[in-house]
Amino acid sequence: MKTINNIIELVGWEAIKLLIGLIGVLVVVVVNALVLTWAERKVSGHMQRRIGPKEVGPCGMLQPIADTIKLIAKELLTPQNVERPLYFLAPVIVFIPVMVSFVVIPFDAYLQVKDINVGILVILAFSSLSVLSILLAGWGSNNKYSLIGSVRSVAQNIAYEIPLLLALLAVVLMTNSLSLRDIVESQKGLWYIVSQPIAFLVFFIAGVAETNRTPFDLPEAESELVAGFHTEYSGMRFALFFLAEYTNIFIICAITTTFFLGGYHGPILPGFVWFFGKTYLLVFVILWFRWTFPRVRFDQLLNFSWKLLIPVSLLNLIVTGGILKL
């Protein structure tokens, strides 16, 4: 007990809290990815008149664990002629921004690793970094499919980050704060989905595009580019891309919940139940998209952002500002 007190005195209570929080984040990331892989297979199964995995565990719930063991046990193959440093670095880099984003998300009134007064900026800044790893993977793989996939990804991410930001700015204008907790607290009475429906739609669509999911899954368009930027990756390196993709989906849904669906607010049940409930509902919608929509074409994708989403979100921002000023 004394040593613990000594350590706390030495590094400070805040640091300990942060450490515990980070470990918690790691757990959440991994568990979330496991749940989502299972959910994706189940959802797709039922949407396609199948039942999905059912052998490992009840309703196949342990299937993701079996898959993880398989992926870890696999030999790490490195194709010849790859740009070795970049090829190895890419799956590592893809994972870091994802972890940082979790730090500022308020899961409940008191369940937040660290409330930073520029919380949303932290998330957006770091999530833009993930495109760097996709570019590295595509370039380093020395594969034409990968390269096309990663170049598409960069163009797509740049195009969709702007409406993403503009949609969030409208909410920030209304709360006068960049802190996620403040934004949630200000939704105690009315959720922003009611007062900012356009911003919600724009943000969610742009979010789906940011996570490279169908109908915007051009960087990994299966029928065109085999597997896009991760064509040459296998085993655990592939698993890291996979993990990052599912975590990104979760983060986008978590931010949507925080900004537009009242975060952890909700009657009777504890806050984090509401938070996760709302988030996973949105996750389900994204899975639903994937198994119903075809893929858009590249020029359609960019036109949709530059010609529709950006003007609409800009207009929304101006109108919001105007009303607030009045």
Binding site: S44, M47, Q48, R49, R50, K144, Y145, I148, R152, T214, P215, D217, A221, E222, S223, E224, V226, W291, T292, F293, P294, R295, V296, R297, F298, D299, Q300
Partner: protein, 524 residues
């Protein structure tokens, strides 16, 4: 009408010999014998008269090689066989690829199988074979291939240039539906040129046919076109029946029609599932397969197999349909009719799908003749050409149906034509079931060892992809002297380079998916 055109041909063509042919016996209206030097002039005449190139192949008569050109018209049936004798020792003929683009591939095929050189052909390289073949495969006597002729397509080792790069779509690629390979030259996302590379599934069915009796060849057609196995099975069986003059009982003809149409729906359903998958929507695939399973169950009861059917026999069928066949088929028709509105909502109602398919991969009606395209592919451009109407076989003249056509010839038109065709097939099945007569299901006393009389015959059926024709030359032995398969996917695929050029890679892949190509059929 046919008579008038034939008269015109006879009046206009000079320096040729005409042989009147009986359509009932041989399947073509007129046979024209042309000197090798006069081929381009004669072909130009057919081109001006809006004939399309139905087929082009070669027959080895040991003393000489005979080039056979089949011309036909979309408007009304007028099949003309043009033959030209080529010296077997030093076979040279002028190319017709400047008049008919499709001849590019046909001539390359003849070149590698028979060793005929085509003067003026821009790219006389192998289409199907590899360099290891020592002798021309389809020559009757062993004729060695000179080393300098063992040329593969240049694009096997494409030269990288500045500002563009090459991508191999296939032979192992998720979008090519089999082992088709397309070498694509790209500038960013845009395709500069595309060149299909064939032969990964080449099995030389035409040579196999020469080495086995007509009966022994029965299982092969199902391997040529696996999704539409019964339709090609019918093509083979009916050709031999025509050659030998074997009558077929009416009940057998009705059952043939019903099972063929069921097979056509199954084949179109396979395509209906695969096409949205090429556009990134994976769910329709499962729905289409669900329906397809119902057909496979019905056909399994009747034929005993689920994919590579071999059900028809010379003079009838292998066995009669079971008691439950009619009820099951009626139940399927009812089920399928209820499913169409759902497909309408699921696929056609999807704005992304429509935006992707509309206005992409446009094939102009005027180009159809150059390539000899058939089937839903050419019907989507607005040409109502269907063998079932043009030269009815089985009992298609006794049922009432329309030919669905498109207008623009783009991907969504091809989609609409195929869906409408499925509905039409249901209508045909319904009528045929109502009229299904009792009686024998096969002709008795068909000899086990068929020895057809000397002669040749061309017979075509409408497979789910277009005109599948069989040309057989018989020398009174129990094996065909030459059996030629005219397959629809081959001539349809030839149009791909022109459709892909200048378009986005995503559109090109959607277009390739809309062809409904079957690679074993192209490679044979």
């Amino acid at each position: 009408m046919v008579g008038k055109i034939l008269e015109e041909i006879k009046a206009s063509l000079v320096n040729v010999n005409f042989h009147d042919a009986s359509y009932e016996q041989s399947g073509y209206h007129l046979s024209v014998d042309v000197q090798t030097g006069n081929i381009p002039d004669s072909v130009k005449f057919f081109k001006d008269k809006a004939f399309y190139l139905e087929d082009l192949f070669c027959v080895d008569y040991i003393d000489y090689l005979e080039l056979v050109y089949f011309f036909n018209r979309y408007e009304e049936l007028c099949r003309v066989k043009v033959t030209s004798k080529v010296d077997a020792g030093k076979p040279i003929a002028p190319t017709i690829s400047n008049s008919y683009t499709m001849a590019h591939w046909y001539e390359r095929e003849i070149h590698e199988f028979f060793g005929v050189y085509f003067d003026g052909h821009p790219n006389m390289t192998y289409l199907f074979l590899h360099e290891g073949i020592d002798h021309y495969p389809l020559r009757k006597k062993a004729v060695p291939v000179p080393d300098e002729d063992k040329k593969l397509l240049n694009s096997f080792k494409p030269q990288e240039e500045e500002d563009c790069f090459f991508v191999n779509l296939g032979p192992q690629h998720p979008s090519t539906h089999g082992v088709l390979r397309v070498v694509v030259k790209m500038d960013g996302e845009y395709i500069i040129s595309a060149e299909p590379v064939l032969g990964y599934l080449h099995r030389m069915h035409e040579k196999m046919a020469e080495n086995r009796s007509y009966l022994q060849f029965l299982p092969n057609p199902a391997r040529i076109d696996y999704p539409g196995a019964l339709l090609l099975n019918l093509a083979h069986v009916a050709t031999v029946e025509k050659l030998c003059g074997i009558p077929v009982p009416e009940r057998a003809q009705y059952i043939r029609t019903i099972t063929c149409e069921l097979n056509r729906i199954a084949s179109h359903l396979l395509w209906l599932g695969a096409f949205p998958a090429d556009l990134g929507a994976l769910t329709p695939f499962m729905y289409a397969f669900d329906d397809r399973e119902q057909i496979l169950d019905i056909l399994e009861d009747v034929t005993g197999s689920r994919l590579t059917y071999c059900y028809f026999r010379f003079g009838g069928l292998y066995n009669d349909v079971g008691d439950t066949f009619v009820d099951k088929t009626k139940a399927f028709i009812k089920r399928m009719r209820e499913r169409f509105p759902m497909y309408e909502k699921l696929i056609t109602g999807n704005v992304i799908f429509v935006n992707r398919a509309k206005g992409t991969g446009i094939f102009q009606q005027v180009d159809a003749r150059k390539y000899g395209c058939t089937g839903p592919f050419v019907r989507s451009t607005g040409i109502p050409y269907d063998i079932r109407k043009a030269e009815p076989y089985a009992v298609y003249d006794q049922v009432d149906f329309d030919i669905p056509v498109g207008t623009a010839g783009d991907n969504i038109d091809r989609y609409h034509v195929r869906v409408a065709e499925m509905e039409m097939s249901l209508r045909i099945i319904e009528q045929a079931l109502a009229k299904l007569p009792p009686g024998p299901f096969k002709t008795e006393k068909v000899p086990k060892k068929l020895k057809p009389p000397k002669g040749d015959v061309y017979y075509a059926v409408e497979s789910s992809r277009g005109e599948a024709g069989v040309y057989v030359v018989s020398d009174e032995s129990d094996t065909p002297y030459r059996m030629r398969w005219r397959v629809p996917s081959f001539s349809n695929l030839m149009t791909f380079p022109s459709l892909a050029e200048g378009n986005l890679i995503a559109d090109a892949i959607a277009t390739l998916g809309s062809y409904d190509i079957v690679v074993p059929e192209i490679d044979r």
